[in-house]
Amino acid sequence: MIYDQIVLRYGDLLMKGRNRNQFEKKMQQQIKNALRPYPGVSFWKSYGRLYVKLNGQPHEPIVDRLKDLFGLQSLSPVISAESELESIRAAAMSLMTSLKQPPKTFKVSVKRAWKGFPHQSQEMNHLVGAHILRAFPDLSVDVRNPEVELRVDIQEEATYLFCEMIPAAGGFPFGSNGKAMLLLSGGIDSPVAGWMALRKGLELEAVHFHSYPFTSEQAKEKVIELTKRLSYYSGAPIKLHLVPFTDIQTSLAQQGQDNLIITLMRRAMLRITEGLALKNGALGIVTGESLGQVASQTLPSMNVIGRTTDLPLLKPLIMMDKAEIIAIAEKIGTYATSILPYEDCCTLFLPKSPSTNPNLHIVERIEAGHPNLTEMIETAIANTEQMILSPNKATTVQKAGEDSWF
């Protein structure tokens, strides 16, 4: 193992001016939490960057973990050397020798941040480059389009050498932009919406509506798995609210307004979520809606549904195509879980022709005529169960049977 540190570069939070300090602190806390499984590492920071000292541990799993955290722009495993010509040359040599695929072309890019260093950047490019070229007769310099760019960052405390700039997830660190509720159905879209919301620094609490026996236990487990996956990205546990929705759903289904049932259900869900948001100090509701995707996601539908709440409705996927959403779902590892074939409660009682253009007055009249909708919504909020989920929480599969059997 030749790398001894990983340098982390911050993302959007650099724009934060006077709040910057606070953001950096959040970021560092998040990184420390995420690297708890690697007790051997240590941390230190310099202006605008954070360094993870590997202390002999392999860098790959740590890089893999960090690149999924929000608030980081990029990261590089680095070799550190004394800021002195011969040490830098030796480190450059061991870095070039360690490359799995020996390149045909390369270039050296020296950045002399420490002006006390005796050789200027241009001069150093040659001093390091020529040293490498002597050892690799088949290698040549290509300044425009090199296969490998050997970067040398000369700081006063040390010089860092690296070839890789690994893009990280970007965005803001977890929780730096307040808290919202996420409607999590178990489908493809809502986990992606959750990931995008987390990426913008929102803290999330997930809300899932279950409708046993119309939905199965597996549908709930699917949502638990998805929440755990999201909590891997947040680097902090996520609270999941499981709302019993059977009574409301069966009661709405009996109103004799088949084509409006989805509208009525969605409105009830938003009311319940608003109630949960108030109880839990959340200031918005995130949904996985995408314009025109289904009947309840047309503009007229969203107009009628959205009027039930005063909280801002955040819809990260609103202008995205399904294919783009699926691509993200695959990238963040939620797709395989999302397509497991268990009904969620929106796909049940699906009428033959759900209204794409519901009439607000009719909807309000049905709700007003319902004998006890408000009480049912309050009961659902009161009977909602909570679970705190983190990525390493044992799944029902991991708990299956008896431990002595395995």
Binding site: S216, E217, Q218, T396, V397, Q398, A400, G401, E402, S404, W405, F406
Partner: protein, 383 residues
């Protein structure tokens, strides 16, 4: 009785037997059923699968459950060949594969596939350069066993896997039935696409095999029916065996190093004796798996030796159990360049956890007296 036939099958761990019985009693529901009992049985399968993946260090990909090593090998070879026929029709195999690989390939040849059988050297090893030389643009599959079931030689799997990294159109299957739990194998790190294993070779129940399928690899199923095992294998899963087999695998993996050291010591002792007997000849050269010693008595039918040893209370084997009932010379020994007399005379001794040096001493004594008795009956090796 001393049981020296661990390559053929092994005594199950006590804990494996109780797990098998308990799961069989409690979880009889069909894992495909929608109700809670079915779901629970399905979870037991997934927990077993996860345990196997963690024991063999596979992060992605899928471990399938089959009825045994033979089915795992058949599914891997026929499934892959038929799936990827559009890419090409050429398969490469070693000439010392187990019958379940060798005969599956013979069947594929009848379907129009071309198979190159790679030679082995006198020590019983495939050369990586031979694999490289045999590769063509039509090669869709390379299959090389990890530990040979007759003579115990370890094939250069890691090196072949490394070579095949540059041939993304060519899948790599490894029959690891004799190696899992005995010598280290790293499917992912070594670039293997398909790995077969069998539970009863490592003190698990019979009727359970494993097939690792790398992420992205598709196989045409052997049998039609339900969509169990991700559509790779139809048929209700053998839940008790799956759970008990995963346990056996874990127990075997955990003690692999220690067991390897012990067996190597026993093997060396036995080999040292065999080298002192002019009648006997050791087969196979290093690297060898720790649990197998294979030798020949040219000019003497191996069945006679096996039966004579049995009179001393010792169970050993002629070649592999799967082909021990035919009278032909061993295909494996012939591939090593042995003449037919030598190739007909193979005796395999394979040890397990229960053996120590006293058992080897008893075997040595028995062999000595068997040779004394049989020597006057030796036939000329030219027949």
């Amino acid at each position: 009785m001393i049981y020296f036939d661990h390559c053929a099958s092994t005594p199950p761990y006590e804990e494996v037997i109780s797990t098998l019985a308990e799961v069989m009693r409690k979880h009889y529901a069909n894992p495909s059923s929608l109700h809670g009992e079915g779901a629970e049985a399905a979870k037991l399968i997934e927990r077993s699968r996860a345990l196997i993946a963690s024991q063999l260090g596979t992060g992605s990909g899928r471990w399938l459950f089959t009825s045994g090593g033979t089915e795992a090998n058949n599914l891997a070879l026929k499934g892959a060949a038929r799936q990827y026929r559009g890419r090409g029709d050429h398969i490469i195999a070693s000439s010392i594969e187990h019958a379940s690989v060798h005969d599956a390939l013979k069947q594929l040849e009848k379907e129009g596939f071309r198979v190159t059988y790679l030679p082995v050297n006198a020590a019983g090893h495939v050369a990586v350069d031979d694999v490289k030389a045999a590769l063509t643009k039509d090669t869709i599959l390379v299959t090389v066993m990890h530990v040979n079931n007759e003579i115990g030689t370890i094939q250069p799997i890691q090196e072949i896997g490394g070579l095949l990294r540059s041939y993304p159109q060519t899948l790599f299957h490894v029959d690891a039935v004799q190696s899992i739990g005995k010598v280290p194998i790293y499917p992912e790190r070594w670039g293997i696409d398909l790995v077969s294993g069998s539970a009863h070779k490592l003190r698990g129940p019979k009727g359970l095999g494993w097939l690792y399928v790398r992420d992205g690899v598709q196989l045409v199923p052997l049998a039609s029916g339900g969509s169990q095992e991700g559509g790779f294998r139809a048929g209700t899963e053998n839940v008790p065996a799956i759970v008990a087999g995963a346990k056996a695998l874990r127990m075997s993996m955990e003690r692999m190093e220690e067991r390897g050291r012990n067996m190597r010591r026993l093997g060396e002792k036995l080999r040292a004796f065999i080298r002192t007997r002019p009648e006997l000849r050791l087969n196979g050269g290093e690297p060898l798996a720790p649990h197998i010693v294979h030798f020949s008595y040219p000019g003497m039918k191996p069945e006679v030796i096996v039966h004579a040893l049995e009179q001393h209370g010792i169970m050993a084997s002629t070649k592999s159990a799967c082909s021990s009932k035919d009278n032909k010379p061993s295909r494996v020994l012939l591939a090593l360049g042995a003449d037919p007399a030598h190739a007909s005379g193979g005796i395999r001794v394979s040890f397990g956890d229960e053996h120590d040096e006293s058992h080897i001493d008893r075997l040595i004594n028995a062999l000595t007296s068997v040779i004394e008795k049989l020597k006057p009956l030796e036939r000329s090796s030219k027949f």
